[in-house]
Symmetry: C2
Subunit: 184 residues, 2 copies
């Protein structure tokens, strides 16, 4: 188990483990092209130098998940860096002021009761491993960085997951999104 | 209106606006004695040098407040730095791993349904102005820094507020708390 909060830096860097296949601007401004990405954790993350670009985030407690959902996620979730999971995606998103101005119960209702964000994610476990990083309080350009890992045989399932989430009421509150695909 | 998230540094510093009356270790380790405190906001906060000590936090969206509660708070809350509010308190707290391991619905139930944290705070508005800062994701020694301001005539009411909160089920999950009282 990694300590929480864990500081993580996603650094476009020639020495990174991951080869960047493509960077797509889904909403708003994109990110500059780069060849490779390093995922730096803990003290390494906090001292990471800015190369082409670096995105920083921190793992934290869950903000919407209830006990039943948390138990279901814990039962099914997968670790990062499984040998067969050679595909990855880094999807930074920023949400609108309207989202952040809502109260907790309003955000929860859109997140799960209307958009089924947790339930949809559960359908793709354990094939798609996922780690969420919070960036908004770090003064970063994005609010969240989500990192996904999956085996090549689950690439079609992953595309479906991303498509279904982008089609939810929650995604109307996303005003910047970049989709970075990687392989190792 | 201040921008959110707003980075804030509470720096023990000879040039601070606030004179420190006393620093009390309520639970766990205290903080070193100091004469004065400066409250630095925004870019100033991020470049604050460590003097005797500096505690850093960031304002953020509410995590437990529902719409009805948020509206009640907005109707009654007071600004910081009102001329008559010459007393202040900075109360840094850290919560246990057991607190952070709970799901959102479990934390909300203890926070409000069992402890009435929001309702109790509302009773002391607008006499006691309050701003919450999140520190846990910044790699800080405390999870939250709460800053309060009130007029000398409301000092007894403020003591009552603090006593009532410390007497709640929520406070069983507080394993470090320091109480810093100030005047200007």
């Amino acid at each position: 188990m990694m300590p929480v909060p864990l500081h993580v830096a996603f650094a476009a860097s020639p020495s990174g483990l991951w080869r960047i296949d493509r960077i797509t601007a889904v909403s708003g401004e994109g990110l500059p092209a780069a060849e490779r990405l390093a995922v730096l954790e803990g003290p390494e993350a906090q001292t990471a130098r800015v190369g082409v670009w670096v995105l920083r985030g921190v793992t934290s407690n869950s903000r919407y998940t209830n006990r039943q959902e948390a138990d279901a996620l814990a039962r099914h979730q997968a670790m990062l860096l499984r040998p067969q999971a050679t595909c990855a995606a880094l999807i930074p998103i920023r949400k609108t002021a309207a989202w952040w101005d809502m109260a907790q119960d309003e955000r929860r209702a859109i997140f799960e009761e209307q958009s089924r964000h947790i339930s949809i994610g559960l359908e793709y476990l354990p094939a798609v491993a996922r780690r969420l990083h919070h960036s908004r309080e770090l003064g970063e350009p994005f609010d969240f960085l989500t990192w996904f890992e999956y085996a090549p045989e689950h690439a079609a399932a992953f595309e479906e997951l991303v498509r279904r989430l982008r089609d939810t009421p929650e995604w109307r509150y996303v005003d910047r999104e970049v989709d970075i695909r990687l392989r190792r």
